[in-house]
Amino acid sequence: MARYAVLIYAHDSAHAPDATPQDTESCDRHSDELVQDGSMVVAYALTPRDMATSIRGDTITDGPFLDSKEVVAGFYVIEAPDLDGALAIARLNPVVREGGGVEVRPVHSGFVKGEEDIAG
């Protein structure tokens, strides 16, 4: 099995500090499904773009790194036999039908504190 990172692009993250379970329902349900079928390795939901801080050179600025319509709202790593398998999983992400999209990237290597090397 290979590992793929899925970057979620949306106008903004639904996971605001004061988000209700309803606000994040579709993301959470999809995440649970991937956990249950065993393909989810690790997943992070990020807070909205207003909470972002960027560094370029010596300069720190308020807001996301790229000034674009979409931001990275979260990311997760899945296990799949090949790219087609990964794309089949990634396209199920509800954001794809909600005006955003996902980017699938093969993982080279990685680290999570307290775990073994999670290299693909």
């Binding site: 500090p17 807070t47 207003d50 909470m51 801080t53 300069t59 720190i60 600025t61 308020d62 807001g63």
Partner: protein
């Protein structure tokens, strides 16, 4: 029992003088701006009652801080989620210890670990964290540190009140969620926040120099706060040219304070002000600073503004002002600070050098640009230029437009007079 009027005055006085210091000390315990603001507000409300019963305390700031801190602790205790939040609350100071010992102590006011000697300055440096947008830094500082009302802040930034409210709420949310610390940990962080801090002090000064609304032209307490902070900053960072530049700019501008309004409170234009009443000692101090800094290196925004202001002030009369030199300085200023407000002020000196017609073309270009829509000084300057080219009727229209945008009583009275003069020329 203390006289109710005396208590009211004492509380109002403490609000003006001590708000920022009390808030800064409370924020450090609460680690939450909204909770701190609410608690400080409640402490002031308690003072009205409490001081009437037991008398006005010797140290109102200490009383208010202790009361506000008790409110914070009560609120935290009431909070059912205390346990889950406890890890967030425990910072470099031990929060549990603070809960057990809520009295105001000297250590709260004067922490030797701090890089800054003054609570207000400390709070401004915190608000000017680079992770907050520049306008948010300034807006938040004016609101929190200087207690300026949101409609007045909105006016200073040429945005609507609701937009300003949203901006401040958003900044507070980011501080809470991203956990921007309520202290400046080292002096290394000071220079990178300096630009924002200077902008805040300048804005505070201009807000006081020409009050955005209300009956009087000047809000002396804001001007004095800004002067005080600029002076402290100078002692703290003597090698920063822009710190000197800002201080010089405030000195020159404030030197004219006594002559900017007549005995009846009405606005007096620069060309009509009594130059013999200007504070010559302040002007001389500023001149020395400006000359010294101009020799030291390429001038920044505040130094250039100070140099322009001092050229105005040093001229024996309005007509004998060195307009070509002022125009040249405005050109430099526009390079380091390309703002439409600077371009508009440049047009005033352009009129003196190249005539009102050339300046009018420039003002009309700025009008089309749209960024200054809602800025009362654009139609006011345009009106003056139209009047000088003999287009009296159009001048009256432009003065009317300025009048509809102005909210300060002294400025409105001045503009009303101009409308009358131009609509019905004698």
């Amino acid at each position: 029992v203390t006289d109710a009027a005396a208590v009211k005055t004492a509380v109002a006085d403490a609000h003006r003088r001590e708000w920022a210091r009390v808030l800064a000390a409370t924020v450090r315990l609460a680690r939450d701006l909204d909770l701190a603001e609410d608690s400080v507000q409640e402490a002031y409300a308690c003072a009205l009652d409490g001081w009437a019963r037991v008398g006005i305390p010797d140290n109102p700031a200490a009383w208010l801080t202790a009361t506000a801190k008790r409110r914070v602790i009560d609120a935290i205790r009431r909070d059912q989620a205390l346990r889950s939040r406890l890890p967030l609350l425990v910072g470099p100071e031990d929060a549990a210890d603070e809960v057990a010992r809520p009295e105001f102590t000297a250590a709260d006011a004067d922490d030797p670990g701090e890089a800054l000697p003054d609570e207000r300055l400390r709070l401004i440096f915190m608000c000017c964290h680079p992770a907050l947008a520049a306008e948010a830094q300034a807006a938040l500082s004016l609101r929190l540190v200087c207690g300026v009302a949101i409609p007045d802040i909105a006016r200073a930034f040429l945005v609507s009140e609701s937009a300003m409210r949203a901006r401040i709420t958003r900044a507070k949310r980011k501080i809470a969620t991203a956990r921007i610390p309520f202290r400046v940990s080292g002096s290394a962080e000071l220079p990178e926040r300096l630009r924002g801090v200077l902008a805040v002090i300048h804005l505070l000064f201009t807000t006081g120099h020409t009050a955005p609304s209300g009956a009087s032209l000047v809000r002396a307490e804001l001007v004095d706060q800004a002067m005080h902070m600029a002076r402290m900053l100078r002692e703290l960072m003597p090698d920063e040219a822009e710190v000197q530049g800002l201080y010089a700019l405030l000195l020159v501008t404030d030197a004219r304070r006594a002559t900017r309004a007549g005995a009846d409170g009405r606005l007096v234009r620069l060309k009509d002000q009594d130059r013999s009443q200007w504070d010559r000692a302040a002007l001389a101090e500023a001149d020395d600073l400006i000359i010294g800094c101009l020799r030291a290196g390429p001038p920044g925004r505040y130094l250039l503004q100070a140099a322009i202001a001092s050229l105005y002030a040093d001229a024996p009369s309005y007509d004998q002002t060195d307009w070509p030199q002022i125009l040249a300085l405005y050109d430099r200023l526009l390079e380091v600070w390309p703002s439409p407000v600077v371009a508009l002020n440049r047009a005033v000196s352009l009129a003196m050098v190249a005539g009102p017609q050339a300046a009018l073309a420039e003002v009309e270009r700025l009008e089309r640009d749209g960024r200054l829509s809602g800025y009362q000084y654009l139609p006011a300057i345009k009106a003056d230029l139209l009047s000088r080219t003999g287009r009296t009727g159009e001048a009256a229209d432009a003065y009317r437009q300025a009048f509809s945008l102005a909210a300060n009583a002294a400025e409105r009275a001045f503009l009303a007079e101009q409308i009358a003069d131009h609509a019905f020329p004698t």
